[in-house]
């Protein structure tokens, strides 16, 4: 069993590496690279969010705010203060981590829909602050940000994001198969039972909340250096919802599910642009139908079907 888990893990990472290595052969223009890079960014945030939702069983409808804090933290420190971009990124990540730590305890005491409301409220407040404090953030118009001088071309970015993605998957899988991961799954199964057998549930929930917020913040920083521009939408309610939808669509409690969910839902709108006005309508329908017929998400549902086939 243990061997099995380990080989599935190494196998999965190898497949991911292969896909990242071969993909450039099929990418013929800057736009396609752009989509690939966006998939990578979204996938990394979703991997962090999946730790919280899929393994910790704690919903967050405000994760866009953490991406936004990383993005605006980097933007403000580099452009307004003239700091080094990488240092700015680290400071933004530390700030986001501390903020997440401070609010984690009161927020994670809440359960179910109350937790959903609290994270949603937190996200909306942060996005309203970013929209309103326009002297600092440029307000709804957004702000321009210098890129990283050593990342000369898009191809560099492709490989950087690819490497970050592989690292995130590896880190996530290791965390899941560590004692922390086992404790988290116990929290998801039954919080009361976990507490009875001596798991400090609050501590683990806080830890994973902070880890997923820091994942999001770092991606926000890289994203802003890549695109040289940031608008408040990044911290908005819809971005938060989008991230949760990616995790659930791909399959909760599956690291590769989070990656596949991010890949499909980042690409799908590009394929739907030919529908023009009907784009959102069709996107919503696809989302509903998938969740109705594959309620556990793509990867776990398909894995379940394959297992049935084996017997």
């Amino acid at each position: 069993m243990m061997m099995n888990l380990k080989s599935a893990k190494t196998g999965g990472i190898l497949v991911l590496c292969a896909v990242i290595a071969i993909l450039p052969a099929f990418l013929s223009n800057a736009f396609q690279y752009e989509i690939a890079i966006l998939i990578g960014f979204n996938a990394i945030v979703c991997i962090g969010l999946n730790l919280l939702i899929g393994y910790g069983g704690q919903i967050s409808l405000g994760h866009g705010a953490f991406v936004g804090l990383g993005a605006y933290g980097s933007a403000i420190l580099t452009m307004n203060q003239g700091w080094d971009p990488l240092l700015s990124m680290v400071i933004a990540a530390i700030f986001t981590g501390i903020l997440a730590f401070v609010i984690a305890r009161p927020i994670l005491k809440l359960k179910g829909h109350y937790l959903a409301m609290a994270t949603l409220g937190m996200g909306i407040i942060i996005s309203i602050v970013i929209n309103t404090e326009d002297q600092l953030t440029g307000g709804p118009d957004g702000m321009y940000v210098d890129g990283l001088s050593f990342m000369a071309t898009q191809i560099y970015w492709y490989w950087l994001v690819g490497a970050l993605l592989v690292f995130s998957v590896w880190a996530s899988l290791n965390l899941i198969h560590s004692p922390i991961g086992r404790a988290l799954r116990a929290v998801h199964g039954s919080e009361v039972a976990a507490e009875v057998v001596g798991v400090d549930t609050t501590q683990y929930k806080v830890l994973i909340f902070v880890v997923s917020a820091v994942f999001a913040s770092i991606v926000g920083s890289f994203g802003v250096y890549y695109s040289n521009f940031v608008t408040p939408d990044i911290a908005g309610f819809f971005h938060s919802i989008e991230l949760v939808v990616m995790v659930v669509f791909g399959g909760m409690a599956s690291t590769f599910g989070a990656v596949i969910g991010a890949a499909i839902l980042t690409t799908l709108p590009q394929f739907l642009t030919f529908l023009h006005d009907y784009e959102h309508l069709v996107f919503g329908l696809i989302l509903m139908l998938t969740m109705i017929f594959l309620p556990k998400g793509l990867v776990p549902s398909i894995a379940g079907l394959l297992k049935k086939g084996d017997k």
Binding site: I53, I59, P106, K109, L110, K111, G112, H113, Y114, A116, M117, A118, L120, G121, M122, I124, I125, I128, V129, T132, S190, E191, V192, A193, F237, I241, V244, V245, V248, F249, M252, D277, Y278, E279, H280, L281, V282, F283, G284, L285, L287, M288, M291, I292, P295, K296
Partner: protein
């Protein structure tokens, strides 16, 4: 000084009554199905936009309003029958995503059929402000308040005295027991979604003359209605009404005495503060968890 306060209070209770109706919609669906319906705001939008549409067809105001309520109720029934019922047994997060999908679909439909422009609905009885102790109130605000009060009493009667209302309450308390007692749980769910949609539509129609409406008008109203429902304790109908009033008044006072830029944040700051100290809302039961 007092006139100013009164002015903020008037706009606060008008807003609050709208949030109360939206919050009631959340509560009814939550009670029957334990689903948080993220498409509740879209019911509000459909009510307002539907009225605009039927007025445009040349129908008289009362008929247009009834038609818009009927249209929205159909969407409520459809949501339950086509999306929620087939997904029975799915996890809470999955159900939430399904209702989010439904809200995207409804916004998409509204955008395709009615465009992205803002539309105005004429006020029910004129725009002449009424003077009360130095403050003014629009006749439409009186409509909002009056209809909300009527609906709250009607709903109380419905849940206390009618068979269907009692069946919904029984189902919310214990679904399996209700089923064993011969209650048609499927019908209860169906009716709840329709009722909730109708309430949302009415809220949308009542505020449309004050705020204008477009295909995205339901988003913030929906979220603040959710605030109202949570503030009052999920599933507690009267709690949702009180929650709506508190959110509305706090928002108007915040905009008036503090900074108007942060008016939309007030509801969410309030809900976070309340939840930090009372994790099940103001009037929610602090339930013990069955293991």
């Amino acid at each position: 000084m007092f006139a100013e306060f009164l002015q903020f209070l008037f706009s606060g209770i008008t807003l609050g009554a709208t949030y109360a109706l939206v919050g009631l919609g959340f509560s009814i669906i939550y009670n029957a199905s334990h689903v948080i319906n993220f498409a509740q705001g879209e019911f509000v939008m459909l009510g307002g936009m539907g009225t605009v549409f039927f007025l445009g067809l040349g129908l008289p105001m009362p008929i247009a309003i009834l038609a818009a309520i009927a249209l929205t109720t159909l969407f409520g029934f459809g949501l339950e029958k086509l999306a929620i019922a087939p997904a029975r047994g799915a996890s809470v997060v999955t159900l939430i995503i399904i209702t989010i999908g439904a809200s995207i679909v409804m916004r998409g439909l509204a955008q395709v059929f009615w465009g992205k422009e803002f539309h105005a609905v004429p006020a029910f009885s004129g725009d002449e402000p009424i003077n009360i102790a130095g403050a003014t109130i629009l006749p439409q605000s009186l409509w909002v308040l009056g209809v909300t009060v009527l609906l709250v009493f009607a709903l109380r009667y419905f849940f206390d005295k009618t068979m269907m209302g009692k069946a919904i309450i029984a189902t919310s308390l214990n679904r399996d027991a209700a089923l064993l007692m011969g209650i048609n749980v499927k019908l209860v769910l169906f009716i709840s979604f329709g009722l909730s949609a109708a309430l949302g539509a009415i809220a949308g129609i009542l505020v449309a003359p004050i705020t204008l409406t477009n295909f995205e008008a339901g988003i913030m109203l929906g979220l603040k209605g959710f605030c109202a429902a949570i503030l009052g304790g999920l599933g507690n109908g009267m709690g949702a009404v009180a929650g709506g009033m508190i959110v509305g008044i706090a928002e108007a006072m915040g905009a008036g005495y503090w900074v108007s830029e942060y008016k939309d944040a007030v509801a969410f700051i309030l809900i976070l503060l309340v939840l930090f100290f009372k994790p099940s809302g103001l009037f929610g039961k602090t339930g013990t968890e069955r293991v």
